[in-house]
């Protein structure tokens, strides 16, 4: 009984941490993005609310909360609201399978900093990722507006295409690690003294592309396309309901996908890896905290990389995006799969 209680408490703490990331960090990332964007474009960005606009996200949140609750006249109310739930919940749930660091011991209890360490972690990730399509399709459909429908269809088409690409791209690392558990994948990388990015550069690049597409980042942000579609499928949403979509799409999903990328390709919480040499840890002075810091560092870097792309590149057309997925990405991943299957015995030794 005591075991159960402590387990529940640990679970509660983990959930709180994740929620903090999802909502707190997610919200603050809006500010980060605006700042980064502004500096890329040589302007200051938000400066008014708080020091250098530090309180800007709170102000935005409050503003969103105090908007009138509107509902499009010809829409379907149930599906309209369901779309939001379907967007938020799966995207957040992905964090359940993200390992933030190695197992450690506090007060005599061994804790794995991962909410659900199951042997099908990546499958869970794919399943949750696929559910995101429903949110998009439902949002566009339930709004019953032409812009929304077109946007949602485009987005759904993109997500559908890149879902396949992501699935196949991750197969190489899975072969090398022989497991679907995210925690074990990191462990395997540490054991084999090798980040999988060294063996799977193609898969990593493809994954990054897919990540941009899935999260609707430039150059794949055709569904938003402010100039043409007025933010696409969210056009009929207002207030907090509107706020949730970008939150989920741009920040929560980007974070979670970055986290998975880090876990699968960049060795998770492990320090810098050089092939044939091993791990070098410049942050050794942090002691037991260093893995967590490494993890956060890698995720942040990936996120900033995405932001950087977002504010520098133009955008593609929808058919260019999808045909890139099927004509370039997918063949690449298939080749990569076979290639991995051939070299895998070397890695296993």
């Amino acid at each position: 009984m005591e075991g159960l209680l402590s387990a529940l408490i640990i679970i509660g703490i983990k959930i709180l941490v994740i929620l903090a990331i999802v909502l707190g960090v997610g919200a603050y990332l809006t500010l980060v993005e605006r700042k980064v964007a502004a500096h890329i474009q040589r302007r200051p960005g938000p400066m008014v609310v708080g020091w250098h606009g530090l309180l800007q996200p709170l102000a935005d949140g409050l503003k969103l909360l105090t908007k009138e609750d509107l509902f499009p006249r010809y829409g379907n109310k149930f599906l309209y609201n369901l779309a939001i739930v379907m967007a938020l919940v799966p995207a957040s749930l992905v964090f359940a399978v993200v390992p933030f660091g190695p197992e450690f011991e506090v007060f005599g209890i061994r804790v794995k900093p991962i909410l659900t360490d199951v042997n099908v972690g990546l499958l869970l990730f794919f399943a949750l990722g696929s559910l995101a399509i429903y949110a998009i399709a439902l949002a566009g459909w339930a709004s019953n507006s032409k812009y929304a429908l077109i946007g949602s269809m485009r987005k759904a088409g993109i997500v559908i295409s890149y879902e396949v690409v992501i699935t196949f791209a991750l197969m190489g690392p899975i072969i090398l690690a022989q497991t679907l558990s995210t925690y074990s994948i990191v462990q395997q990388q540490i054991e084999q003294k090798l980040w999988y990015i060294w063996l799977q550069p193609v898969a990593f690049v493809v994954y990054m592309f897919a990540m941009l597409a899935e999260t609707g980042r430039v150059p794949f942000d055709i569904q938003e396309a402010e100039a043409e579609l007025v933010t696409g499928f969210t056009v009929e949403y207002g207030g907090m309901k509107f706020g949730l979509f970008p939150l989920v799409e741009w920040y929560v999903e980007t974070l979670s996908l970055s986290a998975i990328a880090v876990v699968v390709f960049l060795g998770g919480w492990s320090p810098i890896n050089i092939p044939f040499v091993g791990f070098i840890d410049p942050l050794f002075f942090l002691g037991p905290l260093s893995p967590f810091v490494w993890f956060v560092l890698k995720v942040s870097l990936l996120f900033l990389f995405v932001l950087w792309l977002h504010w520098t590149l133009p955008r593609y057309r929808i058919d260019q995006i999808t045909s890139t997925a099927w004509k370039v990405m997918l063949p690449l991943t298939l080749v990569n799969l076979v290639f991995t299957a051939i070299i895998a015995p070397v890695v296993w030794r």
Partner: protein, 125 residues
């Protein structure tokens, strides 16, 4: 037991998202106007009340492709996990499988299933 944390998290998220949905109607002002919930368009009355009519069939094609490849991926996952134990037999099997998969993709490509958006319209004169 492994999934308990996941389930609890799911419950928490559901509650949270419902809360976030309802916050607006709780906190926001209520100033009804006759046209405020009108679908967003150019400002002229709608020609067609429902937008849920038809859309490009290319999306269906994408859906079909997703189905095909996702199912095939589902077949490949178990294989990837136990590939180490299967040896050459496993490699050949997988190679054939991926080969057929690639053939399907090539076929779709060749038949133009992948360039659906801007195909040239042919007007018969």
């Amino acid at each position: 037991m492994d999934y308990m944390g996941f389930l609890i998290f799911l419950g928490v998220m559901l509650v949270l998202s419902l809360l976030l949905i309802s916050l607006n109607s709780l906190l926001g002002p209520k100033t009804p106007e006759s046209m405020e919930d009108y679908p967003y368009e150019c400002g002229v009355p709608l020609y067609d009340l429902s937008a849920q009519s038809t859309f490009h069939q290319g999306y269906y094609l994408l859906g079909l492709l997703l189905l095909l490849f996702d199912i095939e991926a589902a077949f490949l996952f178990p294989w990837t996990v136990v590939y180490k134990h299967l040896g050459v037999f496993g490699f050949v099997e997988m190679f054939l499988f991926v080969f057929i998969l690639t053939y399907g993709l090539l076929y779709a490509w060749r038949r133009g299933a992948l360039d659906w958006q801007f195909e040239e319209e042919v007007f018969e004169r």
